[in-house]
Symmetry: C2
Subunit: 656 residues, 2 copies
């Protein structure tokens, strides 16, 4: 018996697939043995720690393929496997039917069948099902002489008998996969959400002074109005003074420069402390509670690195690497040297204590009500550490969510996802043309990548003001927000620079001019040009349409214009497909013919149907698979059409 | 350190890939670790039983990919694996270069480098390479004060130093794949050849009497003239009498009917005996020797099943399954019953003795000079048996070649190839249209299938007269022979029915009318319409052009006519591509525009080039990628063009 080509699977079962609670896992396998015997296969699954497996009979498809689906329960680790066996009774029955049809003498075949039923009766008896045993034993007698042949054949071919024997299969020679596969089940927010990043120190509305968590509460209301689910804060810990960077990343800070929040640690504390100018723990708790009241979760930045002033440097000097001159090795990206940052030496002699301490950072903030962590540069720390620490944290807190900020090579980015991160930043920010977007999202949506890596599409970050947005066109920001919000289930922006269409970069770079990373900024949130209402619309549309927040990856449609991208999103849970059409050119009106696969969309090509633009409100009457679209970036660079599956009645008129 | 995505690989390493002696294995892997350290990787390989690995440095490609190639030696089992480590010196050197270029102070970096070189010197010393140690120790002194900075930097950046340290890498933390992968290396005939099947009993030229091996010697000369490499004989063992089948598979035989050779065994013997009417062992040995003199190898049919008269039935009744009425279970394909055939019960209590006996059948014939076996219906016997018996036979006779006649579902066919069969019959016989052929050969040519399954394309067999040939058109036979001979490295026909264009099938079936399976036939080999000269041309062209006998799978080219199929074949060993154009319509002349990827073929699209038809002899002067082709089935249904890579000189004229 061979059980092969089992899917979904990641690296032969070395890593789990991912799902959120309630989602389905459709398991496919190729199961066969020599000859032509009928087989049965079951999909077995259970939550970790459960003694009993739940079994689902697998459907047999052509070419030895079998398939079945189960739904995962609460967050935690689940496992699944396939077991299969030869169904001797069904094999016998199928041969018998053919021989009976051909008028061949089957008296010996009926004796064989009686033997099979007798064995099933014995198994029923062993299982304590005596009435079933008696019923089967009756059938054994009906299958054997002296019963007359017609009666014997009728008994053999009765469906009741087939079902009864099926209930007591002979699984003594069943084969099973070498090892069960696992599913990492997480809560909903691991799989879907709208993120908003802001610097709490830039929230003081009145003056240039340092914003606090108290000030930030007002900002939370602003973010909540736009419909975001998660507010992610850059590090909130005390900032180092030694080698502090000045405005625009200047090597030396002026008096009063606040420094980069990623230079973590000062005499006021490290990763478990709050920067005094932001407020107290009490203020933080209030901030988190206020967010919760507004339907928002706070995500913290976890950057495992230290400023030279971090308490770890004094208390645990063995956690840092020394240079030959005795100094501590600072971070570098040759020829650049970052003397304000000391990397931790994850492979030092005292690594066990270091790793435990770092794990305790997660536990510390979880105690304070934060369970979403955006991890800074995970790709510069050992994979083994992440696999271990995420497992440790999840073991006690299955609700913890981890976002990997790994802007690195594809293999490394994917490996971190395999190692346990719930979500990943992606290359989305640098995929601008139709061909680039199609190729990249086909990759992200295809198995096995889609089984373990969940994209979180940030349209910008404090580190990345993409060239496409540097044009300063409002339409460019609309295009990128639309794509980020609708191409995947999780998206985000770094605001207010995003909605205020901030476009000035430092010469020849993707860094913001006067970046908040190095100074405190003030924002005019009520700017009439602000895209806040547009972001609100996108989040509202996502909220109303499961296809956009928990659907499969995009399916791209043909448009005969290289600047117009069109795609559909669909979720099993909802009976609708959302079709998004975007003009990628923020400068000119573009038009073209859009081809929709009407059959897949459940639309009758011979009758008119209405395409309702959820974004602009317009309704278009279309017919057939090819329809005209035109998008003026000054007015609206995108359509978001809702197409519901046609109601299949006699006199329906497809008005959506 | 992660070593992943290693290719070629079959089922995660559960089964070996296949190669013939002298062929290359190009191994690709993705190798990476956290951060930005430089890595080195080696491909290690050895024949089974060798203590030492041979190492080949792998080339580093973009996106963490590494690649290297090795060539396999004599038949037997070989293994390969990838090992990788962090190259601290190269990492350090790359950072140093950038800092030096940027004019940054590197005095501490030079001390670090000195430490790395010192460690390399210690490793050289441990390896007993004292002069290398001394040389390196000299460099250590040059890297340290009091040497002046310029001298220190020059030493650090010298390529001699880099090469010397590279020779003594620190592999103490090297990572290796969990387990090595294996290659089943076979002799050339496992990978390439032209097969011809005939019934030796139909070789008596004079009368209707039973042909013998002596008669067969003349037939061998006829086959050798056509250029075939292998003659495959249906079973040559004594034929059973009980329930013997008559002509055209009649349930009862008439007196004088010779029976089917696949009903093996009579009182004269079984699988290790020769049917008396074919001759003696001495005659057989002469026949095999005569073939060898003609450059032909004899392949025997191994059909592990018994007629009721087989000695096994009497001597080892425990090897057969009993029915409830005590009779032995005969073969069936419900509702059909084959009472002349008893299957062996491979899972009987006495299976060990049975398996040993069956293995001894192979050894018996290998002793008599036969090492190619065409195995009948392997898919109805346990996979575990084949994996075991092929390993046993190859262990003593690595020259043994096994062809699986598994006309069954794709998964089963593929699994038998994985389990050890050298070659497989395919669905080629039923792939007739352009779309079918393209889809099927793309599947066969793509990894991993191409790494373990070698197609043997039979244009017909005694069991299969395909519908396409039943039209009786000579051109139909030419088309199928051309495709079989040129689409893959191994092909075959069942003759003389093939070259004589025999097209009469039994009503509604693919069985030959008056099949040789049940009677002795006489053949008019000198029929002027015989395709023997055409088959000879095909084999001659194959012999002259490595692309066609040891090349990669076909690459299909575009022709704007659905009845014209075009493909190219290429072998690394030869600097030429053969382009085959076939009119699949045996009834009508077809024409169209053929598009060739000139760049891939090394042809300058701006200059005329000549396409030389190896089959018809014509030469066509073409220019550009699109050229006109027209094929009249009455004259020649195919072109076989030879295109040599352009000689890249100033004044070459591309006359091929």
């Amino acid at each position: 018996m061979v059980i092969g080509a089992v899917e979904p699977i990641v690296d032969g079962g070395r890593f789990p697939i991912k799902r959120v609670s309630g989602q389905s896992v459709s398991v496919r396998a190729v199961v066969f043995t020599e000859g032509h015997d009928r087989l049965r296969a079951v999909l077995r699954h259970r939550a970790q720690g459960e003694a009993e497996w739940t079994e689902v009979e697998m459907s047999s498809l052509p070419n030895d393929r079998f398939e079945a689906t189960f739904h995962v329960g609460p967050p935690g680790s689940h496992e699944y496997e396939v077991e299969a066996w030869v169904d001797s009774f069904a094999t016998w029955r199928s041969g018998l039917d053919k021989k009976v049809d051909a008028g061949v003498d089957v008296s010996v075949e009926l004796l064989e069948g009686a033997g099979l039923v007798e064995a099933a009766a014995r198994r029923a008896s062993a299982a304590g099902q005596d009435s079933e045993r008696r019923w089967l034993d009756d059938r054994v007698r009906s299958l054997r002489p002296p019963q007359e042949p017609g009666r014997r054949i009728a008994t053999a071919q009765s469906e009741d008998l087939a079902r009864a024997v099926e209930r007591h299969p002979d699984r003594s020679n069943a084969a099973r996969m070498e090892r069960a596969l696992s599913v990492q089940v997480e809560r909903e927010r691991a799989g879907t959400g709208a993120w908003y990043e802001f610097f709490p120190r830039s929230t003081d509305a009145g003056s240039d002074t340092h914003g606090t968590f108290r000030d930030g509460e007002t900002r939370l209301e602003y973010v909540a109005r736009m419909g975001f689910d998660v507010v992610y804060l850059p590090p909130i810990h005390p900032i180092g003074r030694t080698h502090r960077k000045g405005r625009n990343n200047a090597t030396t800070a002026e008096a009063g420069d606040p420094g980069s929040p990623w230079a973590i640690g000062s005499r006021e504390g490290g990763h478990k402390s709050i920067h005094p100018e932001l407020g107290t723990f009490e203020d933080f708790d209030r901030f988190v509670a206020r967010a919760r009241d507004l339907g928002i979760e706070i995500a913290l930045d976890v950057a495992f690195q230290c400023s030279p002033d971090h308490p770890y440097v004094r208390e645990h000097p063995q956690w840092f690497r020394r240079r030959p001159d005795g100094s501590i090795q600072y971070a570098e990206n040759p020829p650049k040297k970052y003397q304000d940052i000391y990397p931790l030496d994850f492979e030092c002699e005292d690594w066990r204590a270091l790793w435990d301490e770092l794990a305790s950072v997660f536990f510390f903030w979880i105690e304070r009500g934060v369970t979403i962590f955006r991890v800074d540069n995970p790709h510069t720390k050992p994979f083994a550490f992440w696999e271990w620490v995420i497992r440790e944290v999840r073991g006690r807190h299955p609700e913890a969510v981890f976002l990997a900020e790994a802007f690195t090579r594809p293999a490394v980015m994917q490996h971190l996802a395999k190692a346990g991160f719930s979500q990943s930043y992606t290359y989305f920010t640098w995929r601008n043309t139709k061909a680039e977007i199609q190729a990249y999202f086909r990759e992200l949506s295809s198995s096995p990548v889609s089984d373990y890596m969940r994209p979180n599409l940030f349209a910008n970050t404090p580190d990345i003001l993409p060239e496409y947005l540097q044009s300063g066109r409002r339409a460019a920001f609309q295009v990128r927000a639309t794509l980020a919000a609708l191409l995947a289930n999780t998206w985000g922006v770094y605001g207010p620079p995003f909605e205020l269409c901030l476009s000035r970069a430092r010469q020849g770079s993707e860094d913001y001019e006067d970046s908040e990373k190095y100074e405190i900024r003030r924002w005019t949130l009520d700017d009439p040009w602000s895209l806040a209402p547009y972001l609100e619309s996108l989040n509202e549309i996502r909220r109303a349409h499961p296809a956009l927040r928990e659907g499969d990856g995009p399916v791209f449609y043909e448009v005969d214009n290289r600047d117009i991208l069109a795609f559909g999103r669909h979720a099993d849970a909802a009976d609708e497909t959302i079709v998004v059409v975007v003009n990628l050119d923020p400068h000119h009106t573009q038009s073209g013919w859009l081809s929709l696969p009407l059959d897949d969309l459940g639309i009758d090509g011979d009758r008119p149907f209405q395409a309702h633009d959820l974004l602009g409100g317009e309704r278009y009457l279309w017919q057939g698979s090819t329809n005209f679209v035109e998008l003026n970036p000054e007015r609206a660079p995108a359509h978001v059409f809702r197409l519901r599956r046609r109601v299949r009645s006699e006199n329906d008129f497809d008005y959506f």
